[in-house]
Structure formats: C-alpha cells, structure tokens
C-alpha cells in the first residue's frame, strides 16, 4: 500500500527532542524464575508520545525496511492523534498479526534501522514495533475489534498445509475472499513456531490462540493431527482441493555430529522448546511430558533460538546457563533486545568457543562439554570473519543439560513424499513472489521456501501467495 503522506510537521525540533519512550520490563531477577512475559508494553500516553517522534518523511525509508511495506507514517499519524481505531485499520490492512510481529520482529534491523529520526544526530529511531504491539494489545483489551468481512462464497476449496504464520496469514486472506479453507497441521495444536518454539515469556500463547479463534470464526477449518505426505499425500489433496498452499516451515534440527552427542540430556533446541512450550513440561503438576532440568546448562549457538533456549533453561531452575558461541558478540545473529535481556538475566556468554565433544557418566547422561577456543580469521564469502579453532585450547565445562541451537533445515516431509515437487537444497522452489511451485495449483511460502527466516517474512509470503491463489482460482491461468 502506498504510504499516506501526512503534512510535514512544523514542530520538527520538538519532535526530535522527544525521547524514545522506554518500555517497562519485568525485573530481571524475578522474571528469571517465571514464564510470564518479560516486556510489559506501552500505555496509551507512551504510544502517543512515541508516535509524535515521527516526522512523516515524504520518502519514508522505514517502509522500505519493513518486509511487507506497512504504511508506517500513516498509522503513526493516527496514533499521534489518538485515533487508535483508524491506526489499527491501516496497520492490519498489511499486517495480519500485529500483536505477534510487534513482539518478535527484528525491528532494529528492519523498519527501525532506516528510520530518519534515528539518523538525526544523537537520536534513536521511532519504536515502530512497540507502537504496533500497543495497538494490537489495545484492540485485544476490548478496543474496537472490527469483525472481519468475508466475501460471498466462491465455492472453491483451498488447502493450507502448516499452521505457522505463513499458513495462518494465507488462510485469513483466502477466507476473506470467500473460499472454503482447510488448514492441515501435523501437531495437535495450531500455530507453528509461534506455539512450539517461541517461549511464553516472549510471546504469550493466548495471543496466538486468539488469532486462531478469529480465523475459525471466519469459517476456516483447522484439521490437526494430519501430516501431509503421510496421512494423505499432496497429490491426494490435489484431487479434493482447487489450490494448495504449502507452509511447512524449517523444522529439521541440525546436530554437529560430535562424539557423545547422543548422551541423555543433550537436546536439539526444537526438542527442548517443544517439550517446554507445546507439551508444558515447565508445569509437571499438569503435564506428563518431562524435560531434564539441569543445574549447569550449556546452550550452543548465538541466534534467537539459542537465546530462547538459554532463557528457558534459567526459568526451569538452572543455576548456571552458559551460551557457547563460536564467533564474537557482534556476529551473534539474535535480536539485540533478546541478547540484552539474556545478559540482564545473567546468562553467561562464552564467546569464540565451540564444543568438540561431550562427556558422559556410566548411565549415559551428559556431565560435561569439551570446548576449543576460536579466533576470527579472514572474512568468508558472507563477509563475516570466519572462526578458526585454536589448537591446544581444549577446556571443559560441567553440563547436565546441553541444548544444540545451531539452526534448522527445511522440513523434508512434503518434499520427500512428493517426488514431482521441485526443490533446491531441501527447500521448495517457488517461482517468484507469487509462490507458484512446479506443480499446478500448488503454492508455497514461508520458511519452507526461504529457509529459517522471520515471522514477518513468512506472513508476507502467505499473503502474497493468497493474492496469486485468488487470481489463479478466478482465471485458472498458471
């Protein structure tokens, strides 16, 4: 959507002088022991003041930084005026899950990294994500929640495979266009990474559940316990549906193939987080699924997933959580805010270090990690300096739980059971933004196409695919 051009304000100085509003957080010591949300959000006054920091640029760079091109000055202008309802209208016309994106988007690398206010000397960018979060929470708290309008039924049947952000966004747009939409999900609960991966203290599960309930209200049917490729093949679904969107994510956990990696107490981040988040292992009085609660936990990796695992371990009662990462602080791919939060909570960052083998006891449980130190060498093809091991630098840390969070690959289930579907390095090949795959009527998007990426990119891919699916369903042109 083309950004609204608000009049260039006359009070630039006053705007520049307004400080970026702080978002209150739970106290670091207290929150290290509970699973409640860490960041507490803006109130209406803070949101209005924050919006006032926007100078309504004629060429708003922030919009270029947002993967889905939200009309940022447009909604900020409405927030500044206090018209939250109109602001929400603008926001939600592009971002279907603002309560989620406002919380988990890497804003500092996207919209906010390009904000002109942030480029002016000594100033920080407008906290766009936090204002989004405020609006979404305001709506959830009983603001105005306008019911979604649904077009008259088209009689077309569409299947969506996977219920992560890509699948949910696509399903919403398709339902709005009047199609009959069925979402198939392998797990017993919909939401994808939003429910099994990202922890409660960063994204309360109630938010995801409400989004899903809203979809169901629009007539979308969600069939859980259905693994496409196994319960029925993609080809069989093709017989029953006019079009299909595949959004099965990047759920294949990578291991490092180190000696001792199969010892008890060593988890992939996926397993660790799934046990805790989806299966509720943090609350053994209500859930049977166990997780090993370590005193000394070592997490391997430096991304968002590693931060989530480390902070989860702390909340499960670990005395010491050590994050082992092979490069330095600056290269860590996690969001700045998550790194900060982890540091505040007392996670030990052991940088320029890599595990080389795991040590176990006679029962086959992990008791320690042997590591080697690393040095940053020449820049590799990605421009990042390549870490190289320092010979003879072996040293050991005690560990009764290890979480390996070194990345995930594309989920192989659908590609492996659908030989005619074109893939590249395990990812489904989508021709262009439309999400068209090598099979007629089959579209794909999100992490299964991009590799492990972000919520907002997945949501954007779902919406773009929905638009091209609408076109395909109307014209039949492939």
């Amino acid at each position: 959507m083309a950004p609204t051009i608000a009049p260039v304000p006359k009070d630039l100085k006053a705007r520049f002088k307004t400080l970026r509003q702080d978002m209150p957080n739970q106290d670091p010591i207290a929150r290290g022991k509970n699973f409640q949300e860490v960041a507490l959000g803006f109130d209406a006054e803070a949101a209005k003041l924050e919006a006032y920091r926007c100078i309504y640029c004629k060429e708003p760079d922030c919009v270029n930084g947002c993967p889905v091109g939200i009309d940022i000055p447009g909604f900020l202008h409405e927030v500044e005026k206090g018209d939250f309802s109109s602001a929400l209208g603008i926001l939600k016309s592009t971002n279907l899950l603002p309560a989620v994106c406002g919380r988990v988007c890497p804003q500092e690398e996207q919209c906010e990294s390009l904000c002109k206010t942030g480029k002016s000397k000594g100033n920080k960018p407008v906290a766009i994500g936090r204002v989004e979060r405020f609006l979404a929470d305001w709506e959830r708290a009983g603001g105005v929640a306008k019911p979604q309008e649904v077009a008259p039924a088209t009689g077309k049947k569409v299947a969506v495979v996977g219920s992560g952000p890509a699948g949910l966004a696509c399903a919403a747009d398709l339902a709005r266009a009047g199609h009959d939409v069925v979402i198939f999900e392998a797990f017993h609960k919909p939401g994808g990474v939003l429910v099994y991966g990202i922890p409660e203290f960063r994204l309360p599960k109630k938010i995801v559940a409400d989004e899903i309930a809203a979809l169901e209200k629009m007539g979308v049917e969600i069939v859980c316990n259905f693994a496409v490729g196994l319960t029925a093949t993609l080809e069989q679904l093709q017989e029953a549906f006019d079009a299909i969107f595949v959004a099965t994510g990047a759920g294949l956990p990578y291991f490092m193939d180190l000696p001792g990696e199969n010892l008890g107490g060593i988890y992939s981040a996926n397993e660790y987080l799934t046990r805790v988040n989806l299966m509720g292992a943090f609350d053994p009085d209500h859930n049977d699924t166990p997780v090993v609660r370590g005193k000394n936990v070592v997490v391997v990796g430096g991304g968002n997933v590693a931060m989530d695992a480390a902070r989860t371990a702390l909340r499960l009662g670990a005395e010491k959580v050590r994050l082992v990462y092979r490069r330095s602080h600056d290269e860590m791919p996690a969001r700045g805010e998550e790194i900060e939060h982890a540091e505040e909570e007392g996670i030990d960052f052991t940088l320029l270090t890599t595990p080389v083998r795991y040590l176990g006891d006679d029962k086959g449980r992990v008791v320690g990690v042997e590591c080697r130190r690393m040095e940053l060498g020449e820049p590799g093809p990605d421009g990042r300096r390549k870490p190289v091991e320092v010979a003879g630098s072996e040293h050991q840390y005690p560990a009764d739980v290890v979480v390996v969070a070194i990345g995930n690959g594309p989920n192989p289930l659908v590609p492996r059971t659908t030989p005619q579907l074109e893939t590249k390095k395990g990812k489904i090949v989508a021709k262009d933004d439309s999400g068209r795959t090598s099979m007629k009527g089959v579209f794909a998007g999100g992490d299964i196409v991009l590799g492990a990426a972000t919520v907002i990119l997945a949501m954007g891919a779902g919406r773009k695919a929905a638009a091209s699916m609408n076109e395909y369903l109307a014209t039949g042109a492939w």
């Binding site: 196994l230 956990p253 990696e261 199969n262 008890g264 053994p284 166990p290 289930l413």
Partner: protein, 281 residues
C-alpha cells in the same frame, strides 16, 4: 476423498493378557493410508504425553486401526481408563517408513512379549508377498501370550516359546531361531520386542549370517522428524527413528545406547504416575 476433522473414538477394547489391552480406534484416514511397519502417535488427553504405538491391524472399511498396548506408565494407564465410546484427544499417523516387503523365501517373524502386536502386520504383508512365514511368539510365560489366532492366520506356521516352559517350548527367542535354522535356510529375520531380546537375536543372526530387521522404540515427541529426540546410532551414524525407521538392520544398531536413552526420564515417569494416582483418589 473427504478430509475432515477426525475424532478418535474408541470402538472396541479388550484385555489380551494382564496389562495388555487391544484398542480399536476410529481413524479412517490412517486406516486407509497405513502400511505394515508404521505407527501412530497418541495423546490420550489434555496434559498427557505424545506416545508412539504400532498399528497392529487396520480395517479401511470400518475406518479403524487396532493398537495393542502394554500398560507401563502414566500415558498407557490413562489410555486404559478411556471407555468404549470415549475418544483419544489426538492420534497422528501413519508415521515411519513402511517395512520393506519383498519375496525372499523363508521369513521368520519373532514377536517378543508386547512385540507380538507390531510383528503381526509385517507377517501379514510378508505372507501376501509370497514368502513362507514362520511366526515365533516368545514370552516369559503363557499368561503373557496373545494374538495366537491372529498370528496363525498371518503365518504359514507359528511356534511358541516361553522362558519358563509354561507354553510351547522352553527357551528364548534365540533358541527358536537356532531350531528353525537347523531345519533349513532362513532368508530374513524380523525381530520385535524388548531391547535385550532384539539385541541378542541380532547378535546370533550376525553369527549365522542371516539379515535381520528390528523395530526400535526410543522416546519420541513429534514423530515427524522435527525434534531429534528419537535418535539412535545405526552403523555409527545418528538416525531419527520416527522417519528413518522404525525398522533398521539389527546388525548395525547400538542397542546399549538405545537402552540408556530410554531410561533418561525414569524419575519424571514416576512423578507422572503419582500425579495420576492422586487424580484417581
């Protein structure tokens, strides 16, 4: 074909042996899609674990799958409380790679204890492929044996062995294999049961040079390859049992590692049982 929300209603429930119960569950899509050697993941109710169970039989006409379950802990105990007409909260499947079925000659299907249930559909499929199938039912004593009739139907011949000699011949599954081997060549052995049984059968058949498939039962979570919790070493490489298996070449499996991984949660399992007992009171 219709793809709708399924409700996993319990159609039939029968005790086969002490603590061993047959459940026939409504799951039409699974019944239609499943092949020999595949399993399902069941979550009995809110708060209970996702547990893997082999599809012991299926009927695509009535849309039901049959599970034979030994009560060993909280989830299987919760399962035993579901009445006919009640529902399991969740059931996902069919999972895992199907058994490689081909015409090979004489195929010996060994079921040890609860392993008799998972070996049954494999015997059926091997017979249908034109093999001469010898079923071996092995258990500690006669009271633990079940599926005798079903196995007779599925196999050309069935032999019973018990540890204490209370039924059939006295001895272990390995003794049964030696006996059959002495009568003529065996093309392949399929052995399913407790880990020690599979381990010793594999050890023997390696010496005898008989290809052997075993079906592994590690702790699982998702059952679709997303967690790696089910990994075991096969031929020195880590494999995900839920997608690469559950059947593997018995001569390559690290059984001791599997046993150790199965025992990780002993304490927690006790806690879950205590919680269940409190609820009941």
């Amino acid at each position: 074909m219709e793809f709708l929300k399924q409700s996993f209603e319990l159609l039939e429930k029968r005790e086969l042996a002490p603590k061993v119960t047959l459940y026939r569950v409504l799951a039409p899509q699974v019944a239609k899609a499943r092949k020999a050697g595949q399993f399902v993941i069941v979550r009995v109710c809110e708060g209970s674990e996702r547990i893997p169970l082999t599809i012991a039989d299926a009927d695509p006409v009535s849309g039901s799958v049959t599970l034979v379950v030994q009560e060993v802990g909280s989830s299987t105990a919760r399962m035993a409380k579901v009445p006919v007409g009640g529902c399991f909260a969740d059931l996902l499947g069919p999972l895992g790679a199907p058994t490689h079925v081909a015409k090979m000659g004489t195929v010996v299907c060994v079921g040890g204890g609860i392993g008799i249930a998972p070996v049954h559909p494999i015997a059926q499929a091997m017979k249908a492929a034109g093999n001469r199938v010898i079923g071996v039912l092995a258990a500690r004593n006669t009271g633990l044996l079940f599926f005798r009739e079903e196995m007779r139907k599925a196999c050309d011949e069935v032999r019973v062995w018990t540890d204490d000699g209370s039924d059939g011949k006295k001895g272990l599954a390995t003794d049964a294999i030696r006996e059959i081997q002495a009568e003529g060549p065996i093309a392949t052995v399929i052995a399913i049961g407790p880990v020690p049984m599979m381990k010793f059968v594999s050890k023997l058949t390696r010496e005898l040079g008989i290809p052997t498939q075993v079906s592994l039962n590690p702790v699982m979570v998702d059952g679709t390859g997303m967690c790696g919790g089910c990994r075991v070493s096969v031929g020195g490489k880590a494999k995900f049992v839920c997608v690469d298996g559950p059947e593997f070449d018995g001569h390559q499996v690290d059984f001791d590692e599997l046993s150790r991984r199965q025992a990780i949660y002993k304490e927690d399992e006790r806690h879950a049982m205590e919680r269940l007992q409190k609820e009941v009171r």
